[in-house]
Amino acid sequence: MSMRGHFATVSSDLLNWEQLRQHIALFCNEQQISQEVMLQLQLVCEEWFTNIITHGYQKLSKEKQTSSEIHFQITYSRADKEILIYFIDYAPAFDPLQQEMPNVALSAEEREIGGLGIYLIKELMDCCTYQRIDESNHLKIYKKISE
């Protein structure tokens, strides 16, 4: 089974999104994944990456931070026709799958933007799993590819 991927570790800084974004673009180019799927992958990764920093690391006092790293991995299993995105961070426990979903039927006046990022991840991807392991958050996001 061929399994090729991109790996990166970046610090908790929103400016590092650019680096991950380029990894995804390069990966999709190598794997001949469509522009449409690439943009979806970039979207869900931006949402989760931003979430880790703004709801995770930035809420933690500097003394309590043991590490402010974010590990990122993207792989494609040709046999399963499936992309796996894997994020690990060391911020406080945060399970996106337990978050309340926004009411997307509200009017503009009633709408809040909160929760939309995680909602987009769930809607655009096929499956997500979350685990808290040894003081770290592990999120795996799966996307099936139709060739």
Partner: protein, 112 residues
């Protein structure tokens, strides 16, 4: 992100080009608030060259529609690509905004 603004009568046409994300949302917000500060009340966002939008981008769009309606103004969007359209649909923003396939149709909306 490239932002181009042209005036057609009382309508400000804001063309967005590139990526509307966490990195560029501030620029778009600032530009929009400037126009609002100049007394503009009618806005067309032309998304023809917009490749990508994330929830950070949606945040600016929500701000724009709320501020515009608060002053009894009007806002319309046009030329959304498939990806941008999809994000608007999933998030329920396609029911919040008046969305048109072409700029001309968006401009018609203001004449109605």
């Amino acid at each position: 992100m490239l932002i181009n603004v042209e005036q057609q009568n009382e309508i400000s046409i804001i063309s967005l080009s590139g990526r509307l994300d966490g990195a560029s949302m501030g620029e778009v917000e600032q530009r929009f608030l400037e126009l609002l500060g100049q007394g503009m009340k009618q806005f067309v966002f032309d998304m023809n060259e917009l490749e990508y939008i994330s929830s950070a981008g949606l945040r600016v769009m929500l701000l724009a529609v709320k501020k515009t309606r608060a002053i009894a103004g009007k806002i319309a969007l046009c030329n959304l690509n498939a990806n941008v359209q999809e994000v608007f649909q999933i998030s329920g923003f396609s029911t919040i905004f008046e969305i048109f396939p072409e700029r001309e149709e968006a401009l018609q909306f203001f004449r109605a």
